[in-house]
């Protein structure tokens, strides 16, 4: 009987230890709250966190690392996001204006139905590359919702500018010019 009691106690302690371990693991693996956006806003020199995602506008994948050496305007958007509809023509115009100066644009469609997202790109005549962050995992590393969010990344892969919400043309151009200098 005493042995049975000891086994029971051991099992209970083991279960509690396993649950505690699970909790610690979950906390340790949680995304950094605020992500890249919060780090940049604290004034820290913030590297753009790498990712590789499926292309939305073409077959295959695209990684952020493959754009190293260029200034990258990274815009998180979705077809259901109203401000994203208003700002996308500004991105397309800026892409055409700066493309010969070592600047590229990368759209990240997030938490979105791919059919709607593709129609969005067609409707607004977007020609710069776009990728699909289907469950928002990359967006969370960059600060999460709400949308839109735009980061300007310098040639060495560090965040040089950040615009929260809908961009204005002058703010976008200024952020790109700063990253180019």
């Amino acid at each position: 009987m005493r042995r049975l009691k000891l086994v029971g106690q051991g099992a209970a302690i083991g279960l509690v230890a396993a649950l505690l371990g699970l909790l610690v693991w979950k906390v340790a693996n949680q995304d950094d709250p605020g992500g890249v956006a919060a780090s940049f806003q604290r004034g820290e020199r913030t590297p753009a966190r790498g990712f590789t995602l499926d292309r939305l506008d073409a077959p295959g994948e695209l990684s952020l690392a493959s754009l190293r050496g260029k200034v990258v305007v990274l815009n998180f958007w979705a077809a259901w996001c109203e401000p994203c509809k208003r700002e996308v023509p500004l991105f397309q115009a800026a892409f055409e204006r700066y493309r010969g100066q070592g600047v590229t644009f990368l759209g990240v469609d997030t938490n979105d139905y791919s059919g709607n997202a593709k129609r969005f790109l067609e409707r607004y005549g977007v020609t710069y590359p776009n990728v699909r962050d289907r469950d928002g995992a990359v967006l969370r590393r960059y600060g999460g919702l709400p949308l839109p969010r735009t980061f300007v990344i310098d040639r060495s892969g560090y965040v040089n500018g950040y615009i929260f919400g809908e961009v204005r043309e002058d703010a976008l151009h200024r952020a790109i010019e700063e990253a180019l200098t």
């Binding site: 009987m1 049975l4 077809a79 259901w80 996001c81 938490n111 059919g115 289907r134 469950d135």
Partner: protein
């Protein structure tokens, strides 16, 4: 109640002669629905190939010879094997938006299902589900397509695989463990109490007094 029984009886009487007629005097049209074209994987009614024509002419000959439906089918099976007959498939359960609204999460509102959210992203998912229902997809097919579009987090219940399986298994383990502990404790408690109760010796003086009082009562 009597009315319902009578109505059912009338229906059965009306249906029985028709069913018997169909069995005894089958029509070509009926059998075209129930027999497969072996080389085009479709019922004869939907096939135009040479093989289908041959089978239809065989059926017509057998009907003219007075064979019953079962006899014709048996002859076809003897010649081509059981796959020649159309097997009735279970009807696909039709999904509804209401069915899925509490099983699918809003992709951008933490902890909220579609039912609880009116965000534009949730409305987009609802439109997607409605379009798939209109296209005739089952509930399972729609869920698979949602996972392909938005990832597994779109489902309210965690998937029964990988690490997420723990969410299903742990409560069961907890319940089972709890039941074992309670059962073990009850068993242990009853074993300790019974011998103690049986073994309590009565004070001899008290026993004698009890005997006397019982005798007085008699």
């Amino acid at each position: 109640m009597r009315f319902v029984v009578a109505a059912l009886a009338v229906l059965a009487l009306a249906w029985a002669p028709a069913a018997a007629a169909s069995e005894d005097k089958p029509t070509r049209w009926e059998l075209e629905q129930e027999v497969m074209c072996p080389d085009c994987n479709a019922p004869l009614a939907q096939s135009n190939g040479r093989m289908a024509q041959q089978l239809i002419s065989f059926i017509e000959t057998r009907i003219a010879a007075g064979d019953t439906k079962t006899e014709i089918k048996d002859k076809l099976v003897a010649q081509y094997g059981p796959p020649i007959l159309v097997t009735p498939s279970a009807p696909k359960k039709r999904a509804t938006l209401a069915d899925l609204e509490d099983e699918v999460m809003c992709p951008v509102c933490p902890g909220e299902t579609l039912e609880q959210s009116s965000s534009p992203a949730a409305q987009q998912v609802e439109r997607f589900i409605s379009a798939r229902i209109a296209a005739g997809d089952s509930k399972g097919e729609i869920k698979d397509k949602l996972v392909a579009e938005y990832g597994p987090r779109i489902l309210a219940a965690p998937p029964k695989e990988g690490f997420d399986l723990l969410a299903w298994v742990l409560p069961l383990v907890g319940l089972l463990g709890g039941a074992l502990v309670v059962g073990g404790a009850a068993w242990h408690w009853s074993r300790r109490r019974e011998p103690a109760q049986a073994g309590i010796p009565l004070d001899p003086e008290l026993e004698r007094r009890l005997d006397r009082e019982l005798a007085d009562l008699d």
